[in-house]
Subunit: 419 residues, 2 copies
């Protein structure tokens, strides 16, 4: 008998009919002979509605009270799911993050899990209970309620799977798995049966919204197999995420993603002096501004100046505008240019490490369609190109064809559930 | 510097504007120089909406999961109120029943408070915080969340006031105080400035829905002054509830209430044998059926049988119907008769103890209007008559006139806040 952790997102528990449906998925796993720990998000728009209420009261809610408020969302869905499972004749018990003992840092709205107590849950499992745990929340010193921030419920699920040595962690949502590209853009995009943590992480970071990178990182660290699957199609096994070493066959390029959430900023004619870049990025970091791609041009020797270009999230544009005067003051730049009409197109694949020519093929494919590349950044298993937004779909399609990410051309890699 | 406990009901925190209004009421008390502990109910219809969700899933929700579900309502309102107070520049912190340490029995949906920890709240008060506590909830062994059942939030407030030796406990709602009779029925009904615990208890028990008797009982036990007042008229001091010994003047009849929530049941021709009544009421008790008025007729010697009549709550009629066969089996009764068109009219007053003739005057007043009395029950300070429902308003009016409960005739008893 094994142990499976299942996580159901907000759309999977959006109303009481869907919650009954989730109860079936849980009981199906229990009837497979496994112990089951279930992690739930808040129902549908609950969190948005709570945020709206807070927003009606203040634009500066204290993070502690926000955690108090938002943590109720998961408490509602977990108790309703426990009732639905009980109604179908199985033993179930719901537990808050605090009751489980999901210990976090002393930090609100973005706490990291530091430890999970196992005794209480193990006892309840041994008594035959299905355990329902509130996602997204924990408890820190002095019995204070904390929340984990973005990607919190997925992270709760993976962390619980690791703490209880689960056989795997199934993340249920309204998508059927991980695709080679966004199926809404590339009609021939294929669902992957298996993908490595590393590839999934890069895909998540470059804009594939299936999983938050945080949960994948946690799974990778402990080699915990994850499965992304649909709560509306229980017979579909979705996509298995495992270590690259455990994969039978590694393709050079596994997937493609487009990210339109960034803006490009160019700071022009900065004096070419050691320490100027450090000053700039320290200032950005002090404002909690995350920078993604960075390019510093070659210094123009005639003028002894250069340009620094980087991308930030659109949601951080206000924060950035608030410090442009300060940037000018520090760097004495001639101009700060901002470009919103851009898209970051990335290809990801664990196999590109030892196969040369992937980057060249990507640039060549885009060039043939006269798509100009504005910035490039690479990691070991990812190449990203910043291009004009109008070319987003075209770039996705031609790259999918070039790297055989569409359904018709290649047989899929098969992955099996670890027993 | 004193300490005041304030409790705000669901209508007082029904939306974010009302919550801001409550924040003003709290800050006003804080600015009076008092430490303040605030107890809140769930916003408006939140509890009803949660019950509806549970009901869509099962008709037999486990009490434990219901507590898990329902306790979120107060957690939402308390965090929003803390935000609203902070927004107005004051220090505030919200705490669940569990975080305060409101220890209850190991029982769900109707737990009684057994102990309240004071250390954490005292420390937070000493740091200048206004404390917001979730009403209606506590925690029992093994960190399980419990709720207190009906009247729970009022009880939380009074219990906290007692635990922290507060100067008084103010119960804010949408009514301006305790009235001599229901102002919707008797237009000339007067708001009382002061009433004794004993009178308030009897009024609450006979249908005045201002306060749940449970909270008044707790206050009486510790002689904690309570004030019933409106959250929409902060300058109105409402009605003070204190010990009868502390009252300056005691009137024979303080108030009147009508209760239409009961049905009368008559079990006819039961054999007049010792133990039959005990059998009947044991059976009712075993089904958790609360019985109010009870009358056993004189035995008809010719037949050696008698009738037993009693009243139960309308909400318990289904439970009662489920055991009528059992009753027939045990008692061999000739007939079970149920009458729903009844009203219990009660007059209450601490002064009736040592003034004879009050009951006679009540019966006489009703008789003059040809209102037939079906059952009578009395306590030291209360007389209740069961009459036909159609006479409800008429009985209330003539009794208010007879006992001078209307506004025009008597000067009101003055009560002052204990300093």
């Amino acid at each position: 008998m094994g142990l499976v952790v299942q996580k159901f997102g907000g759309t999977s528990v959006a109303d009481t009919d869907k919650i009954k449906n989730v109860a079936d998925a849980v009981i199906k796993e229990k009837n497979n002979g496994n112990d089951v720990i279930v992690v739930v998000s808040a129902m549908g728009h609950t969190t948005d509605n709570l945020l709206k209420l807070a927003n009606e009261i203040t634009k500066n809610a204290s993070p502690r009270e926000m955690d108090m408020l938002l943590s109720t969302g998961e408490q509602i869905s977990m108790s309703l799911l426990a009732m639905a499972i009980q109604e179908k004749g199985h033993k179930a018990i719901s537990l808050t993050g605090s009751q489980v003992g999901i210990k976090t840092e002393n930090c609100h709205m973005c706490a990291r899990i530091v430890d999970i107590e196992t005794k209480k849950v193990e006892k309840l499992l041994s008594e035959g209970n299905i355990i329902i745990v509130a996602g997204f929340q924990g408890v820190c010193e002095d019995n204070e309620i904390t929340t984990l921030g973005r990607g919190g419920s997925d992270t709760t699920a993976v962390a619980l799977a690791c703490a209880f040595n689960a056989d795997r962690c199934d993340i249920y949502s309204d998508v059927e798995g991980v695709y080679t590209a966004d199926p809404r853009v590339v009609k021939t995009a294929r669902k992957l049966d298996v993908i490595s943590y590393e590839e999934m992480l890069e895909l998540a970071r470059v804009g594939a919204n299936v999983l938050h990178p945080r949960s994948v990182e946690t799974a990778k660290l402990r080699n915990m197999p994850m499965r992304v699957r649909s709560s509306f199609k229980l017979d579909n096994l979705g996509t298995l995420i495992i270590g690259v070493d455990d994969m039978e066959m590694i393709k050079p390029v596994t997937g493609l993603a487009c990210d339109t959430s960034q803006v490009r900023i160019v700071i022009c004619d900065i004096e070419d002096r050691p320490g100027n870049a450090a000053k700039l990025f320290n200032l950005l970091a002090s404002q909690n501004l995350s920078v993604d791609m960075i390019i510093q041009s070659y210094a123009r020797h005639s003028q002894n100046t250069n340009d620094i270009a980087f991308t930030i999230s659109k949601s951080d544009v206000d924060k950035f505008n608030a410090i442009t005067d300060k940037i000018n003051e520090i760097l004495n730049a001639s101009k700060i240019h901002m470009d919103e009409d851009i898209v970051k197109v990335s290809i990801v694949g664990a196999g590109m490490i030892d196969r040369p020519g992937i980057a060249a093929k990507m640039f060549d494919t885009l060039a043939k369609k006269h798509i100009n590349i504005k910035m490039i950044s690479t990691s070991e298993i990812k190449i990203s190109c910043l291009v004009e937004k109008q070319y987003s779909d075209l770039a996705a399609q031609v790259l999918c064809e070039a790297f055989e990410l569409d359904g018709a051309k290649v047989a899929d890699v098969k992955g099996d559930l670890p027993s």
